[in-house]
Subunit: 383 residues, 2 copies
C-alpha cells in the first residue's frame, strides 16, 4: 500500500493483489465434492500487520462487491466500496488494524470464477464452472489467510453475503477467529430471498445472448443482467428511502417513447441496470446468487447446537428498515448465541436506508464497531 | 345468468357479456387527449337488479384479473377470481345485490386493449394503442353503468388496482356512488411500487420476441412476461406466507441442470411465470402497469381537499402483512376522509397472506363488508 498525502484520510493508493493456490491435480475440494484448481483470489490489504500478527481483520463483500474495499486505485476517482468504514481513524482503523478484503471464489473481479479460463479447455469455464457455496468461498479465504501468515483473525466482518461468509468462518474455523461482526445478514436464506435471486437468474437466462453461459467474446446478456440488477436495487432500498430519493417526480429528460423511463426512480434503475454489464459477469451473478440461496449455516438443525463451545465474540448489527434481510434474521443469530452461551451483542439501528444501510450508516456503525474491536483487543491483551 | 343446481352456493353458470360504445369519429376521450373508439368492455353480472335499481355493486379487478369474478363458465372447473366473495350468502350477496364486474380498458380479456384490432389498420394496435389511465378505465365503466340502467351504484369495490378504480369512481362520479370499498390499495403509487412494475416492463421489453410490441401472430415474448410475473408473485405474498408455503424445501423432481429450479419456491414461481403467457397479453401488462404507476388520485394535492363534500361512505380495508400496498397507504386515505368530513371506516386485518389477502381472507372481509353494505342499504331505505 502506497501513501498519498492528498488522500490522507483514506487508506491511500492501493493495489489489488493476487494469490494462486490449489494447483491441480489436487485443487480445492468443494462442498459438492468437485475439485477446482488452480484457484486465484484477488485481495487487498490496508494498514500494517503487527509483530504479534494479532491485529488482522478480514472484511468480506456482498454479491456485487470486490477486493477493493478502501482507498483509491491509481488514477481512479472513486474509492473502494467500504472506504467510509476502513481507513485511518475509521471503524476499521488502519492505524491500528491490518484489514484484508478478498474477492470471493466464483466472482469476476480477479478471483477464479466462471469467466476464468478453464485450464482443461483453454476457454472460459462458463457453466462448466462447478457450483460453489459460501463454505467454499470461506475455505478458499482460509488458504489466503494462511498465506498472509495470520494464524488468528482479530475479527471477520461483512454485510449481506459478507456477513454470511463471516458466520461461516466462525463455524468452519472457530479457533481462527477471535470475533465476528455479521451485518444485515442471515444464517439462512428465506424463500422470499431465494425468490428475488431466482428472478434475477431467470432474467439473465431468458436473455438469448446468455446462450447457456457461452457468451464470452460475443454479445453479452446485458439486458437480462440489467433486469436482475434492477430487482436487486429495489430490494436494497427501503420504501422510505425511495420516497425520499425519488418521490413521484418525473425525469426532466424523459424521452417521448411510451414505455421509456419517465419517473426518476425508473431512470435510476435503468441506469444502474444498463451499466452493470460493464462491471459484472452474468455467470458470476448466477453462481454467487446460488451460493447465497444454498446458504444454511446450521443446515436445518439447531443453530445454537452448532455454536456451542465457540469462544469467538459476536457483534450482530441489523437495520430496522432492511426488509431484504429483516432484523428478525439477525435476532435469530443473537438468540442462538445466547442459547449456546456464546458472547453476543445485538444492535438494531434505526436507519431508513434499508439494506443499503450497511454501506451508508457510517456513524453509528463506526461507534459500535470501534468500541467492540477495542474490547476484543483488550481481551486479547489480558489473555 | 343461468342457474345450476350442482353449483347452488355459487353465482352459477355465467357468461361474459360485451358492450361496445364510443364509435368513431368521436370515440372515448382519454386523459391524454387521444380519442379511442370503438371501445368494448367485457363484463359479467351476478344477481338481479331490483326494481328501484338501487342494489347494484361494481366490483373491479386487479392487474391480471378479468370480468369473470364469480360463478362458472360453461364446462370450466375453476370459478371466477372472487367467487369466495361474490355469490348467494357471500360478502357480495347475489341474493340481495346485483353485482357487475367489468374487465378494464387496456386489458386482454375481451375489452379493448393493445391486442385488439385497430380499425384504422385492420391489425392489432400494439404500441399504437394510446396510453390509458385509471381515470380512463373508470370513464369507460361509466358508459357501461349507464348502459345497464344504473343511475347510482350502491357500492364500488375492488382490491389492489380494483381499489384504485373504486377510489377514482368516487372522485370522478361522487353522485353516482353511495359507498366505496377500496381494499389493499393506495391513492397513489409509491416509487417502490413503480419500481416493481418497471422491472416487469423492462423484462418484457428485454425479450427480443417483444419486437416493439409487434408480436401478434408470431412468437410471443413469453420469457419476458414470465419474469415480470415472477416479480409480481413475490410481491403478492408475504415473507411469512412464503415461509409457510415453501420453507427451504427442495423440489422432489428437480432437474440435474445447475440453474434449474431446485427450491420449491423457484418451481412455483417458474410455473406461474411460464404459464402466464397462456392467459395474458404482454402489451396489456405494459399498458396496465403504466396506468397503475400514473395513478395519483389527488395529483399531488391534498387528498382531503379532493374528498370534501363527498357524501359516499367509505369502508377501507388493509392487511398487516401486505408489503406491496402497505397499510399506511390505506391509513392515508382514511385520514383524508376524516379531514374532509367524509364518513369512513378503516379496518386493518391481521392476515399473514400479504397482498394476496384480499383474494383469500374471506371470513373477516365478508363479515365487515356484509355489515357495511347492510348499513349503506339501511341509510338508503331511510332516506
Amino acid at each position: 500500500m502506497k501513501e498519498n498525502v492528498s488522500k490522507h484520510k483514506t487508506a491511500g493508493v492501493v493495489e489489488t493483489q493476487y494469490y494462486t493456490f490449489a494447483y491441480p491435480p489436487d485443487g480445492l475440494e468443494l462442498e459438492s465434492g468437485a475439485r477446482l484448481g488452480p484457484v486465484t483470489l484477488a485481495y487487498e490489504t490496508y494498514g500494517t500487520l503487527n509483530e504479534n500478527r494479532s491485529n488482522a481483520i478480514l472484511a468480506l463483500h456482498a454479491l456485487s462487491g470486490d477486493a477493493h474495499a478502501a482507498g483509491f486505485h491509481e488514477g481512479e476517482k472513486e474509492p473502494g466500496w467500504w472506504d467510509n468504514m476502513i481507513g485511518p481513524g475509521k471503524a476499521f482503523d488502519t492505524d491500528k488494524y491490518f484489514i484484508i478484503c478478498s474477492n470471493v471464489l466464483g466472482g469476476c473481479k480477479g478471483s477464479t470464477g466462471p469467466s476464468s479460463v478453464n485450464p482443461e479447455t483453454g476457454r472460459p469455464y462458463g457453466l462448466d464452472f462447478p457450483i460453489i457455496t459460501i463454505k467454499d468461498m470461506v475455505n478458499a479465504q482460509h488458504n489466503l489467510i494462511d498465506h498472509l501468515g495470520v494464524n488468528r483473525l482479530l475479527s471477520v466482518t461483512g454485510g449481506s453475503m459478507g456477513g454470511m461468509q463471516a458466520l461461516q468462518w466462525v463455524v468452519s474455523y472457530p479457533e481462527r477467529v477471535r470475533s465476528v461482526i455479521p451485518i444485515a445478514t442471515t444464517a439462512n436464506h428465506s424463500p422470499q430471498q431465494i425468490a428475488f435471486n431466482e428472478v434475477g437468474r431467470q432474467a439473465i437466462m431468458a436473455d438469448p445472448n446468455w446462450n447457456d453461459g457461452n457468451y464470452y467474446g460475443r454479445e453479452l446478456p446485458a439486458k437480462g443482467l440489467g433486469v436482475a440488477r434492477m430487482v436487486g436495487h429495489i430490494t436494497y432500498m427501503s420504501d422510505v428511502s425511495m420516497n425520499d430519493k425519488f418521490g413521484r417526480r418525473f425525469r426532466s429528460n424523459a424521452k417521448p417513447f411510451k414505455f421509456s423511463p419517465e419517473f426518476e426512480v425508473e431512470g435510476y434503475l435503468q441506469y444502474r441496470g444498463d451499466n452493470f454489464i460493464k462491471r459484472f459477469d452474468p455467470n458470476s451473478y448466477l453462481y454467487i446468487t446460488k451460493a447465497i440461496d444454498y446458504f444454511d449455516l446450521a443446515n436445518g438443525k439447531g443453530m445454537h447446537e452448532l455454536l456451542k463451545g465457540i469462544m469467538s465474540r459476536f457483534l450482530i448489527i441489523a437495520f430496522k428498515s432492511d426488509w431484504l434481510y429483516p432484523a428478525y434474521q439477525s435476532q435469530e443469530i443473537a438468540r442462538a448465541c445466547k442459547l449456546a452461551g456464546v458472547e453476543a451483542i445485538y444492535c438494531e439501528l434505526n436507519s431508513a436506508y434499508g439494506h443499503d444501510a450497511f454501506l451508508v450508516e457510517v456513524e453509528e456503525q463506526s461507534r459500535l464497531i470501534k468500541h467492540f474491536l477495542r474490547s476484543v483487543t483488550r481481551g486479547l491483551n489480558q489473555a
